[in-house]
């Protein structure tokens, strides 16, 4: 079953100069996951070397001889043969230095490297559980997910983290060493263990999605890709019986609702358009429908996780009409979310919802208690709340926000708000 939102795979009617990047995107991660699963973290470089070498061979061969009939199958065959060659050499070597090994073990079974769809999916899913290991930092988990499960190049991973190649290479190397050291197996967690492991996996996917959705990078294509990859991996979890639990559905629902505003929330320069200023005709109806479907699936249980609360909040945001019921519901959901788990973003959003329900004066009183003076979004919010009643205070807050904002996109957005305020003042 294909998830409609993802790039079509297996369509090769595109121009030849696009095909390798395209195949790299769709096939590298599959080959690497299967190879990793076979070789394990003990020799982390082997899987990636073989996969990269496969694509190099493709570039050379196809450049000389033209495209094969089924490029993906061709890649699988080459990867499988390279892996077998490696295994043969390795076994031969071990045989020579340790003669105790019987010659039979020189035989590499035909099924050794299984690149069937089933095994690719299983390998990717098992890999997802393996790299979302509690021993790794969240950055390392996301980095490995991008590299191994999403087939991102080191440059792209570095871009996503606003970092450089060297730092990312080091981080990934250390992470793999750690997995090796901890003897992490690439396998499904046991039924009793799946719950606790799933919590980390979901947290990683949630952050991967946020990395794309809220990232400071102006590269909109990359940002969208991060979100889509998080959704694809989430969908893998839904397709696997043991991990198809309400929280996973709630998370995918949340992602669908957010992603539905992707086209509306950024202009052509990658600048943020705020929710109340968005062209609602650009909201993606199909994704909203998908979001509702998964939210419905998510309610087939007794658990209300933070993903549920966030998904329902996101659902209310897909309703265009501004009415008191909408904001009252959003406010109560933020209250519950904050009581479950504090986060500065939720605290600020709650205050915004409060202003919609109880008025700006009430919201200002609550906002001033928040103690988030070092957060530029706090000052953006207060700038918004003060704008009708106390222009000078609004300007002061926006100026502080401008000083605190870290990225060019945010700075230019705040400067725009400031301009519109000061312009009014002059008139």
């Amino acid at each position: 079953m294909a998830f409609f939102f993802f790039k079509e795979e297996g369509h090769f009617d595109m121009q030849n100069d696009k095909i390798l990047p395209h195949l790299f995107r769709t096939e590298y991660r599959k080959i690497v996951a299967v190879l990793y699963r076979h070789f394990g973290f003990e020799y982390p470089e082997i899987a990636e070397d073989i996969a990269s070498d496969t694509f190099l061979t493709a570039a050379e061969t196809w450049g000389l001889k033209g495209l094969p009939e089924n490029p993906a199958a061709w890649l699988y065959t080459v990867a499988r043969n390279k892996a077998k060659d490696y295994l043969k050499r390795d076994t031969l070597f071990k045989h020579k230095v340790t003669p105790a090994i019987q010659p039979e073990s020189l035989q590499i079974p035909e099924t050794a490297i299984d690149l069937s769809e089933q095994n690719i999916n299983d390998s990717q899913l098992q890999m997802l559980f393996a790299i979302c290991h509690p021993a790794l930092s969240v950055e390392a988990q996301i980095g490995l997910a991008l590299r191994i499960l999403c087939g991102f190049g080191i440059d792209e991973v570095a871009d996503a983290f606003l970092s450089n190649k060297e730092t990312i290479n080091k981080r990934l190397f250390r992470a793999k060493e750690k997995l090796k050291e901890k003897k992490v197996k690439i396998e499904f967690p046991g039924e009793g263990e799946i719950g606790s492991r799933l919590a980390t996996v979901l947290q990683t996917l949630y952050l991967l999605f946020n990395e794309g959705y809220y990232s400071a990078s102006k590269n909109t294509i990359l940002r969208k890709d991060l979100c889509l990859e998080a959704m694809r991996l989430c969908y893998l979890l839904i397709e696997y019986k043991l991990s198809n639990v309400p929280e996973v559905n709630a998370l995918l629902s949340l992602m669908c609702f957010h992603a539905s505003r992707f086209e509306a929330r950024m202009d052509e320069n990658g600048e943020i358009i705020r929710y109340d200023e968005q062209d609602t005709t650009l909201w993606n109806k199909e994704l909203i429908t998908k979001g509702k479907y998964y939210l419905n699936q998510a309610t087939k249980g007794d658990i209300i996780s933070k993903y549920h609360l966030e998904a329902i909040i996101a659902y209310w945001h897909t309703i265009k009409e501004d009415n008191p019921e909408k904001w009252e519901n959003i406010l109560q959901l933020y209250n519950r979310l904050l009581i479950t788990a504090y986060s500065p973003v939720a605290a600020l959003n709650r205050t915004y919802a409060l202003s919609k329900v109880r008025g700006k004066a009430a919201a200002i009183a609550e906002a001033e208690k928040l103690q988030l003076k070092g957060n530029h979004l706090y000052h953006v919010l207060l700038g918004h709340l003060y704008k009708d009643t106390d222009q000078q205070k609004a300007i002061d807050h926006l100026q502080t926000a401008l000083k605190l904002a870290k990225t060019a996109a945010e700075k230019s957005r705040i400067a725009k708000d400031l301009n519109s305020l000061t312009a009014v003042k002059v008139i």
Binding site: N335, R336, L338, I339, A347, K369
Partner: protein, 114 residues
């Protein structure tokens, strides 16, 4: 920052002062807003629990009575734990507690850190 226990007391036999269903609905929102406001300041340590109205009291002579409001009119209805700079701040936060609107009260007690 220290932790403070807020204990909510109210009359469990309000009799004629029983609030209307509309008032009850409004109170539910007030509770959520008040708790949400504390949580938004990252000062909610534990959302605590609400307690059922009936209970028993075991006394020194091991006599068990239905209680606890045989002798006192008000009973504990629930509690939460918050974080605050001082007893004064904790008391200030308690001023927003919806229990006060139905003539209940909040007892603020500092939790002794181990």
């Amino acid at each position: 920052m220290n932790d403070f226990l807020l204990i909510f007391r109210r009359d469990f036999n309000p009799g004629e002062n029983q609030p209307s269903p509309e008032k009850l609905q409004g109170m539910m929102k007030d509770w959520q807003d008040w708790m949400g406001g504390i949580a938004a300041q990252n000062k909610l340590v534990d959302p605590g629990n609400r307690l059922a109205g009936d209970g028993k009291v075991v006394r020194a002579d091991k006599v068990i009575t239905n209680g606890p409001y045989v002798e006192i009119k008000e009973a504990i209805g629930g509690y939460i734990v918050i974080r605050a700079e001082s007893m004064d701040e904790a008391a200030e936060i308690s001023k927003g507690c919806p229990i006060l609107t139905i003539k209940g009260n909040v007892e603020v007690r500092e939790i002794i850190a181990m």
